[in-house]
Symmetry: D2
Subunit: 301 residues, 4 copies
């Protein structure tokens, strides 16, 4: 089928290519003209304005938005709306907050448009292996997009599905990322413990490789870790600094709002915050307090 | 090759069968005579005494011990020793503490015996899929056992390896289980958050299935979870009560002894303890304290 | 000086009385007419409408609002505004979110009114011991209210202070409550550990009493705990169920928004959530997973 | 009464002085001859050998040992025993593990000696304010030492008590320190959150002072913190590095052994471990993993 694609970055660009390979007509827009030129060169239709994007698609249109969450999504929708027709479908495939998605769905629906939220996972691997997609939205609208999902997904019948009404796609993707934080932290701690056990002289790269087959912890994250460790077993040159994308903290906020105790996902987020704190204030406070009541020596800066 | 096997329970029995299917001569002993009879019926050699076990194996012997950790392992070694010859190999394939394994290795070595510690993972799936084995011990001794490991493992070249000197097998298996605790808790929290989001009416069984392919959290644990949820989506009849086998707490103790901060593995253990606390004392204390300073109402039993 | 007081509940009623005893003219309003009658009987001026409240005070007026946070505060301000004059001071002494307080300050300021936020701590003890007050607002406005603060506080010079501009009072009170959660949880865990050490037959009530003098953990919370344990050493009849008022979760949200890692305050909140989860979903998930990979028995409901 | 005192360091020296001021005859020994000379100069009896210590005391003797836990305590007891008589009392006032204390009690008892374990808190403040003492041992033996405890304690009737049989003193002191860790961490987090809220320009020193009177968090730790912040409000020159004395980790081990979930005390310990980890391994692992699955940029060393 035909599909418009806005945002041709790391994720969007690869998705366009996977869709083209799957036989779809992709009309792509990006603020970067080189990027759109590349798209055209690859056999899709790269355009330089939203007007051209809309013109190159037949109604009812489906336009997949792949831009940073928040204002960029709202801005894109606002600019597109006057160009589009009732019945056209907006798809937000980025990392938006599910609450925003529900609001956008309801507002667009009221004006006669359709809106679908797709939590998309796949990173740099999606072009080759396919994208995991968790989809929220009205059943009939999601249904119309089936050919797109079947192509983007790892296979026509796996790795994607409608998880519920509007918001359910981004909500499930958010929780997915929360779980991911916890799994990553669990692995990182385990490898750190083995690294510290100097007298056994353990080889983390070798152990990761052993665990890849048959162990209880076998997983895609372990596969990637094993490969990374094979290339850099001592993690040479890597700083202990871990960003967080936002979905982890949303998961924590949501858990608390729902009165669900989720200590491991929460602690995984907290450790990322900790990795970025310089000259840690809590630790300096503790040092001062120990000195105050016990006369314990303070380590100076 | 030939191998003796002591302990033919859930794990040991299946291992004997996998070894037999792999062309090895298995001589097996268990306190339960029905179990040894079954082994004989299946085509291996079931014996009713340690004497017979030793007699049925040619020196240098390799005897795999698959009994509960602690005293049972010591008792088994003590009984076997007088029956065996210098150069014979003891293999502890159970969930022993690595510190015990190092002590056993050193004591046996001093008397002319060999000892290898094998952290074995595989649960109820090992017979079919093979066992993950993390092996600690002297290099030449481990080397002699290669045919056994190649058969028990998922394949001759995957899922097993010598991870270091004596103790390294059980140490790495211990950490493996610690990571497993963290991964399990992360998944459990994620599904609990989705379960609590009633207005989105999410279907955990369906979501688990979607995640199995292409997602970042894809893993064997997720595969098993998806299958379990498919059969019992509401977890009907399951009590919120989670035992811990011992390796989790050893991992926590070890991390602290090594001065490695491992909050997620630790918290995963703590949550299992929490699941078994009845009429929780901390919560009752908190309730009383809130009442004392703020006059907040106390919920009565 | 003169002061209006809206909300004569557990906190407000006692504050009115402490102010009266301190020589101030208190005009009090509550939706409950019995409560206002009681106030009049005690020697203050109880009124049955906001109109009467305002009429009974000379401009520039100071009206202390002591109602539940959120809509009730907004509603009260909205009803009062048409009755009041430029230069009159609104004081929010309740547990409002500091972000709301900043918004209210700015909106009222734009209309010529003044607004001060006071984080008030004191619970059932304030009448006798005085109230701890953390005050946010414009310096000159706070200054005008000094006689009120000097009376409500434990003493004219202790236990109160302006902590910064608008919002700073409720922000500091919020953090105060977060710390309180952590201290309470630390004590509760300690007493739970001692309670579990059956062979030493420890007497928590006696130990709390010993700690009250000379120990590092001596504190007001310990004093209250000691008294509570003296009356009910076995916590008979107390359910393990711990509400949270809202300030704890705000502290957690704020810490994350500020990228400050605050694991102990966060975990203290999480444990309160945990205390209220029935038939815990995470634990049931873990039980099912253990069974799935290891064949471990499931405890049934 | 008469008392021997071994170990005249920061704690022991001050205790000797408080005992002397209380009218007791103190015979003190230390490996540092200057220290013993100082004791003599102050009006007590400083001796240079254990032989002299024992000779200067009348039977039945009471000797208070104030040396580092572990081997130093065992060595001291071993050297003293041949010099002493049946019925003499050994007092371990240091930070020993309660399990060691129970063993020492039982072994000494079997040889006709007495042993009492005293968890002693007081730090640099004990001389002036008195020591908090949690005492474990046989009732009649503890009773004989009453005059000593009454003098060392904040007052004859407060701040000390027999908490149970042998081991109960050191056990309760251990838990006391665990609670202390949690309280300290809670305060440190709270002040860190306020420090990070730059737009409110909060003054932690001022806030600590306000909280000292009337707040729920008022406590001795807060008093000390307020004083420390008054002298160094920006914590200038303080490194974020927090040692742990050992009692915190024992509390964590004990909680796990007792199957008591104690997340806040545990996390407080973990954060101290974290403060001492350089080039944090878990964080570097996480950075590598994020790059591997999502192509996220790695911050380089």
């Amino acid at each position: 089928m035909q599909i418009g694609l806005i945002g041709l970055g790391k994720m969007g660009g690869n998705m366009a290519e996977r869709l083209r390979l799957g036989g779809h007509k992709v009309v792509g827009f990006d603020f970067n003209k080189e990027t759109t030129a590349k798209l055209t060169a690859a056999g899709s239709v790269g355009v330089d304005s939203l007007e051209d994007l809309v013109k190159n698609l037949e109604a009812p249109r489906a336009i997949w938005i792949m831009v940073p969450e928040g204002k960029p999504v709202d801005d894109t929708i606002a600019k597109l709306k006057p160009l589009m027709q009732k019945g056209d479908i907006f798809i937000d495939g980025g990392n938006s907050n599910y609450k925003d998605s529900i609001k956008r769905h309801d507002a667009l629906k009221a004006e006669g448009f359709e809106f679908v939220d797709v939590g998309t996972s796949g990173g740099v691997w999606g072009l080759k292996e396919g994208y995991s997609m968790m989809i929220g939205g009205d059943e009939d609208v999601v249904s119309k997009l089936t050919p797109i999902f079947e192509t983007l997904a790892p296979s026509a019948t796996t790795g994607w599905g409608r998880t519920g009404p509007s918001g359910a796609g981004h909500f499930v993707k958010m929780v997915h990322n929360g779980i991911e934080y916890g799994m990553m932290q669990a692995f990182a701690e385990g490898f750190a413990i083995m690294d510290a056990k100097k007298e056994l002289n353990l080889d983390n790269a070798h152990i990761a490789k052993i665990w890849q087959v048959g162990s209880v912890v076998r997983s895609w994250l372990l596969d990637l870790t094993a490969e990374a460790l094979a290339h850099n077993p001592e993690l040479t040159g890597i700083a202990p600094f871990v960003p967080d994308s936002g979905e982890g903290r949303w998961t924590v906020f949501e858990a608390i709002d729902l009165n669900v105790s989720a200590p491991v996902i929460t602690e995984s987020l907290i450790r990322r915050l900790r990795s970025r704190e310089e000259n840690n204030m809590t630790d300096r406070m503790l040092s001062v307090m120990r000195n105050a009541f016990g006369g314990h020596a303070i380590k100076k800066d």
